[in-house]
């Protein structure tokens, strides 16, 4: 097998490595939050991939750049895929209908009308260290998600999507 064939084989196996390492980490590190386990599995798997590639493939600068962006890209996609399974509302509604948790529209309305969905989100943000409760008020504990949210607002304006007015002018709502 030449360099390209070995690298192609590695890249094709990489998603499977991610999937199995995530399953393993969820079991071994329980009761760790699912999102943290997914992040760890991305780091562990990309580390394994880069180590194996360094040994098995003759890496030129161009191939090293390729390996860096392709492995980061697949890792990012995997993390978001996990996140979708955990937090996405559209996926929740689809799987809820599939599991007969939501039979009618009012089931969906009742699920999201209550504050439990919001409490779940606040707990999740606290669990991953982005929020902290101080004197009965939630404060930001890190800036990563804030920067991500601000970046998303920039993308929304580039794509001419509707403004999200409640976050920029909360006092007026």
């Amino acid at each position: 097998m030449n360099t390209y064939e070995r690298l192609a084989l590695l890249m094709l196996f990489y998603p499977a490595i991610l999937l199995f390492s995530n399953r393993l980490l969820i079991k071994k590190l329980a009761p760790i939050s699912g999102q943290k386990a997914a992040v760890f599995s991305v780091f562990v798997s990309s580390g394994v991939l880069i180590l194996v590639a360094a040994v098995a493939v003759e890496l030129t600068t161009a191939l090293a750049i390729y390996l860096a962006y392709a492995s980061l890209g697949i890792g990012y996609v995997y993390f978001h895929f996990f996140n979708m399974s955990e937090t996405a509302r559209r996926i929740k509604i689809l799987t809820g209908i599939h599991a007969r948790q939501f039979v009618t529209q009012s089931d969906v309305e009742a699920y999201y009308a209550g504050s439990s969905a919001l409490h779940t989100r606040i707990k999740r943000l606290s669990d991953i260290g982005q929020l902290r409760l101080q004197n009965g008020r939630f404060q930001l504990n890190g800036r990563i998600l804030l920067r991500a949210a601000q970046l998303i607002m920039v993308f929304r304006s580039i794509l001419k999507l509707n403004q999200v007015s409640d976050v920029y002018h909360p006092e007026n709502t």
Binding site: M11, R23, T173
Partner: protein, 163 residues
């Protein structure tokens, strides 16, 4: 070198088309169009480039993997851009407040925006679900997606996500 550059070049072309289409036409079926644009449209483009540069099978696979890894970053981020998740709303609200927010304040501000039901309507508009005699039903696209995520959570040994 071509293995590194071609995926980036194809992505830039697709991003330019995406930007143009969104700014000019403001499409309604966001998700289907993003999948078509980033998933299917580049396929013949990459095949053509593999023929032009006479790449072998392994090199062609690397070009495909490289492109879809890069496109996947954008495709996976797009729903967060389009739907703007309540978690990010909460982060921005708190980030823009001077002394943080209480749970009651977060609840009252979020309750004024019917963000969850907007996502529900997206599923009807994009033909993932339908309502028949008052009952919600999955359409083929929705059924496939639901099965993928249910199987995935089962494989990880986790219950279904809370949404």
């Amino acid at each position: 070198m071509q293995i590194t550059v071609i995926p980036l070049a194809v992505l830039l072309v697709v991003l330019a088309i995406h930007l143009l289409v969104w700014r000019l036409f403001r499409p309604k079926n966001h998700i289907s169009l993003v999948l078509l644009l980033f998933g299917i449209l580049p396929f013949p483009l990459i095949i053509a480039s593999c023929f032009v540069f006479a790449h072998g099978l392994a090199e062609s696979i690397l070009i495909f993997v490289g492109y879809y890894a890069l496109a996947g970053i954008y495709v996976q981020t797009y729903p967060a851009i389009q739907a703007f998740s309540p978690s990010l709303r909460v982060i921005l609200m708190i980030g823009h407040s001077s002394h943080g927010l209480s749970m009651q304040e977060i609840e009252s501000r979020l309750s004024k925006v019917n963000v969850n039901m907007e996502r529900f309507e997206d599923l009807f508009r994009e033909s993932f679900i339908k309502e028949e005699r008052g009952m919600l039903m999955l359409l083929p696209k929705g059924k496939i997606l639901a099965r993928i995520f249910v199987s995935y959570r089962n494989f990880l040994g986790l219950p279904l996500g809370a949404g």
